[in-house]
Symmetry: C2
Subunit: 255 residues, 2 copies
């Protein structure tokens, strides 16, 4: 029965026309019923942003036997929320966001619209993951990352994920040597702006930068795995409480 | 010497003209040298979003003896990044984001632009906190929340915070009974859209909703504290790795 097929919600932050999302749908199409609900244009760096000052709209732009496609004028999180609140008639079994053009390893999990969408699926208690390929170009080769997406989708459908945990999957270029389970590399972006001038000669700033890795020798970190040719899977928690620091903070006697 | 004065960077997500940020500056003015670097308009729900598709600009709009004021066309995180990368000549001793008009307790920490800015300060290894008042109105009374901001600013300046941990402070309306150190309440937003129509009769969706609390009896949670008249302080980690789940995930034998 069609009701028994897993329902898989797919979104991304590069927009519905990106090669990454097309490759992802292609790789997963026979696993269940697919609904694509993706932004109309790229929303990179949108984190878990929601649109509060503008009305959201969506429309169906394609329908195939096992797949229905919608495009929306919101952020990746808006896409997940709108699909789950207003469009789908049952809770998906899996939310996948990607395949992103560019790494979301290390601290980038915080800024990533791809991971914002995966985290949103997780907030809805749906097993969810984001997947990114370390190649920003629009014609990147998604062959290997699509295979990994398929593998992880099958595993997550079979085993589920604990409530409040989703996965951040990053894949190097070329054929990965394997898949490592890692932690989020500690570090930050540096040299973050390219200064320019607008047509009237006024200073403007464009975001750019390099990732500064603070634990370059940690072979349990996602950056280490990627640098050494492995795909990296980081389990990500949506409870951001620093429980370890609570006893110390209580000693501050704030009240 | 003026070099010895603590440098305090202040931002928010309600925009530089919001009553909350004006109240915050007023409460902290004699604690050190203040730099305000805030968005030109409200950026609620912006999470840790960064602006990638538009040029950023900023300009100074006021200068007083101990305080310099800048306005920027970016998100709260853009404001912190731009101030730290391009404007300030030394690392601040403290980053404070707020006082937000409206609660950022529970899962709202994920969507909050206020907390996005505090998390950004933390990524830069600067002791940082976000502070929010549970009152969305533009003329909210910030008397008590400004006192709490002052108290916590003094404590954080004196004691510091562990690397990778910032604080999410939420204050109820009226005079708080005290301050509780709590965890982030588990739950999610529900009934998230108000459906409307545009002038041409097409469906549009506006974000709204109610917080559904999944641990209503947990008196160590921030929602419990606020509901019972206390301010809540949650220590927030920027390492989102779910370390507890790594051993189980390794058993999946992904590669």
């Amino acid at each position: 029965m069609s009701k028994e097929k897993p329902l898989i919600l797919i979104t991304n932050d590069d927009g519905y026309q990106a090669k990454g999302i097309v490759s992802l749908v292609e790789a997963l199409k026979d696993l269940g019923e697919i609904v694509v609900f993706a932004p109309d244009w790229h929303r990179s760096g949108m984190s878990s942003a929601i649109t509060t000052s503008q009305a959201l709209r969506y429309q169906q732009y394609n329908k195939e036997e096992n797949a229905t496609y919608y495009v929306c004028n919101g952020t990746p999180v808006d896409c997940v929320k709108l699909a789950l609140n207003e469009v789908l008639d049952r809770q998906p079994n899996l939310v996948i966001s990607g395949i992103n053009h560019g790494s979301n390893a290390g601290i980038s999990v915080i800024y990533s619209g791809t991971m914002g969408a995966a985290i949103e699926g997780c907030i809805f208690k749906i097993p969810s993951f984001g997947i990114s390929l370390c190649d920003y170009t629009s014609d990147a080769d998604f062959t290997h990352s699509a295979k990994i997406a398929r593998l992880i989708a099958e595993k997550v459908l079979a085993k589920g994920l604990p409530q409040g945990v989703c996965l951040n999957v990053n894949v190097p270029t070329g054929e990965p040597k394997g898949i490592k389970i890692t932690s989020q590399t500690q570090g930050k972006w540096v040299n973050e702006y390219q200064k320019g001038q607008d047509g009237a000669g006024r200073d403007v700033y464009w975001i750019t930068g390099n990732f500064e890795n603070w634990e370059i020798d940690n072979d349990n970190s996602d950056e280490w795995a990627l640098t050494n040719g492995y795909a990296a899977v980081v389990p990500v928690k949506i409870d951001m409480t620093a429980y370890d620091f609570i006893p110390e903070l209580k000693k501050w006697n704030l009240a």
